[in-house]
Amino acid sequence: EAGVVQSPRYKIIEKKQPVAFWCNPISGHNTLYWYRQNLGQGPELLIRYENEEAVDDSQLPKDRFSAERLKGVDSTLKIQPAELGDSAVYLCASSSAGAFLYEQYFGPGTRLTVT
């Protein structure tokens, strides 16, 4: 079974430029999460989707961040314009109703560097 796929793995951009991250969850997983992880910290939830619906986006900085999951499968997270403080690893995870509540499967992440 393929895991969560994220691309790109690394991205370097100048501040004020836009950037987008893509995530393909595990097949059949209806819940998709985007996290941001700063160096030395744990992941922080940005947004959670149940199928196509964003059910928790309270931590998403909506002035510059946006996300979509149009067909309830893959998802895109966008930052426009990027700021120096956005440098972090952006993690995508997915889960499904199963034996363990909220057992999340994480992708490898996209390391963003804003210069």
Binding site: Q41, G42, P43, R48, L91, A93, Y102, E103, F106
Partner: protein
């Protein structure tokens, strides 16, 4: 979100049992406690989850006292490959990771 508190770091020698305790004083009645492991440059990986008493799988054991205000992750006979950051999650939707415990296994 119910927040958790765990030690920032721990060291252990190879072959020893390691116990990492997490405090979650405000855990709600219907919340589960979940532990994840994260290696450098990788996403976190689910280890174990429980609601009360004891849960054991092939990787670890999880002990949860009756009041559920804390939990202890037990790793038997650790090896160098167990060096990682361990996160305890105990709250609504189990989505608050905190800073985790950095475990270093020493040869």
């Amino acid at each position: 979100l119910a927040k958790t508190t765990q030690p920032i770091s721990m060291d252990s020698y190879e072959g020893q049992e390691v116990n990492i305790t997490c405090s979650h004083n405000n855990i709600a009645t219907n919340d589960y406690i979940t532990w994840y492991q994260q290696f450098p440059s990788q996403g976190p990986r689910f280890i174990i989850q429980g609601y009360k008493t004891k849960v054991t799988n092939e990787v670890a054991s999880l002990f949860i006292p009756a009041d559920r205000k804390s939990s202890t992750l037990s790793l038997p006979r650790v090896s160098l490959s167990d060096t990682a950051v361990y996160y305890c999650l105990g709250g609504a939707n189990n989505l608050f990771f905190g800073t985790g415990t950095r475990l270093t296994v020493i040869p």
